[in-house]
Symmetry: C2
Subunit: 372 residues, 2 copies
């Protein structure tokens, strides 16, 4: 179902520019995928996502399984028609959500949890995850994996990557390649050795793309970078590579530098709803009193429809009054900012100027490469 | 500042079609004014208001005086520039808000209240109200009036209309006619006699327009109609007439029938944020479980961008998950619906078909003329 083509390789780093062809459109990579957990990218009109040139969004198998439920999605012929989004969708397998639940029982066949809705038992298995994603009808499905809590010891992580491997095999069995592409997920915690092992296991199953899971879960920036560097050696070059749950400019730069093509994160939308704006000179919290009188756009270098029209002082006021329109404006700006940032990353690879672009970002304070 | 022209009078009723020329544009009347209390029509992009052909919105002197405060609005050169709305604005005097506060002291010169923000004393006077509205720079300012609680006895109402009369005189004194039009407000509770007296007093001051205040405050529909009928006899025909705080199709029809030209109400936006949709066949609450599977638009006769694209089932899901996008969609639809309804009212006056339009609305269940 999926076609991935490398258009250009950076001479300076492992960064690459690519084109991903999916049933619902073509996407240039590196690509940022806005998160649409509940069949909506929060506070955004679908048409505005298109105006921002969003080619792919992320949907969430577990959330949508709970509500509205498979019966509803099925009666609407899938997520695309339900939410009226005719471009590509990647669905998360539900692994991350299931493992975020405190009371769970991990078994060899899957994970038993109580439904957050009504307390009934849910047994999330590779088969169920694949079934949900098939009903959702996403362009790309993710294999069901075990997301290990960062505090777990290496012994546990070692056992868990075996489960992730077995579950990946199961997912392949249930994947209908004609309708949906399937990505495998590499786990292994913060051990370079286990990451290598997990990568070799998952890659041996020959997926259409590979994801790195279990990063950006609270570890320090150098650890993220170290693991990323270690694992990427074992991921085939000719397949799209996706790092899950990252979306700060810092991490995006590091990921791209290591040859990553895809990323998703709630950061721009969540920050936007809470009053923080991404700018070319770093983040700013528009709720701060000092912005009350400022009759300037959020970012004078930004040409989004928010920055072209509205002032910081006005948006500050909207947040002080907890007005929905404030959340709408900042969500739009932040998505525009991050999508435009990734576009500039692509341009820099195309022009073989990735490292000078990175330096420019460092000089401005847009990235620090220290923390996130 | 204001020019009002009657374009057509209904042969069957007192309804009339008019044109109101204001510094920020021309508006055809009868007109519905969406409410933008805090310098935003809640959950709406300003550009979407324009797409809906909104020519005038309502701003709120008291809310904006509290936050962001006059100093901020002044530094932005007024409300139009602050919120980036270049069409007309009418500002409420703050009377209604001040009288909604429980602990207040009504004096002959104004009303003393404690600020809901910090408890400091605010003495709201006609002079202060006019000063606020001047800083806001609205096209139409409203005189500061006493909004009497509907439970007050006739003795109190009689005294209060004298205050409203005196305050109206004060407001005229502070009104700079070159920059801003000023409307007087007729009060008088539910007494036909006091309404007559208040109307005569206010009209004697020769305002550029007249508003009926103190209706739609919980009284029954027949009472609203009776008072409206009683008071309109004393309001000059050649001036725009505004009934404050109404916005149900029932009340709009009754108001227009009595020769009213303008109305405002939070109803379509507030209902929208709470999951209720206005339709040609009455209101529906999209949160109801029965809508879960419905793959149809809210109103098949509606041609707004929400009804052209999204299903009831999808919007139901968004409300179940308390998603902002649900509020955005229903706010848009409801405003479109009410604005379109008023446009159809205007068309019916133009074609001298107002009564048959009213009958059609009754037959459909869009209005009941019984309650609201």
């Amino acid at each position: 179902m999926l076609k991935y083509e490398i258009l250009k390789k950076s001479k300076e780093t492992k960064a690459r520019l690519g084109k991903l062809s999916l049933p619902h459109g073509e996407i240039f990579t590196p690509v940022f995928m806005p998160v649409g957990t509940n069949a909506t990218v929060k506070a955004m009109w679908t048409d505005d996502l298109k105006d921002l040139d969003v080619g792919i969004i992320l949907g969430n198998a577990f959330h949508l399984y709970l509500r509205p439920g498979l019966e509803v999605i099925d009666s609407f012929n899938g997520l695309h028609n339900f939410m009226k989004w005719d471009r590509a969708i990647l669905t998360d397998s539900g692994g991350f959500q299931v493992f975020s639940i405190r009371n769970k029982k991990v078994e060899e066949e899957g994970v038993k949890i109580k439904s957050p809705l009504d307390g009934s038992e849910i047994f999330m298995t590779p088969e169920l995850s694949m079934k949900i994603q098939m009903v959702l009808g996403s362009d790309i499905a993710m294999a069901f994996d075990e997301c290990v809590h960062p505090d777990m010891d290496e012994k546990y992580v070692e056992e868990s990557i075996e489960r992730t491997y077995n579950w990946a095999k199961e997912c392949k069995k249930y994947n209908n390649k004609e309708n949906q592409s399937l990505f495998g997920i590499i786990q292994g915690g913060f051990s370079e050795e286990l990451r290598k092992k997990s990568a070799e296991q998952i890659v041996s199953l020959d997926f259409e793309g590979y994801a790195i899971g279990g990063l950006s879960v609270g570890e320090s920036f150098p650890v993220t970078k170290k693991i990323l560097d270690a694992v990427m050696k074992y991921v085939p070059e000719d397949k799209p590579r996706y790092i899950m749950g990252i979306g700060t400019p810092d991490l995006i730069i590091s990921a791209v530098e290591n040859g990553i093509d895809m990323f998703d994160c709630v950061l721009p939308t969540r920050m936007g709803r809470h009053g923080t704006a991404l700018t070319n000179y770093g983040k700013i919290n528009l709720k701060a009193g000092k912005y009350k009188f400022i009759d300037k756009p959020i970012d004078e270098e930004c040409n989004c429809k928010v920055c072209k029209k509205y002032s910081i002082g006005y948006i500050h006021h909207l947040f002080k009054r907890d007005e929905i329109f404030g959340k709408m404006l900042l969500t739009y700006h932040n998505l525009h900012f991050l999508l435009d940032f990734v576009k500039r990353v692509r341009d820099s690879i195309y022009k073989d100027e990735f490292l000078s672009f990175k330096k420019e970002c460092l000089d401005k304070g847009l990235i620090t490469l220290e923390s996130f």
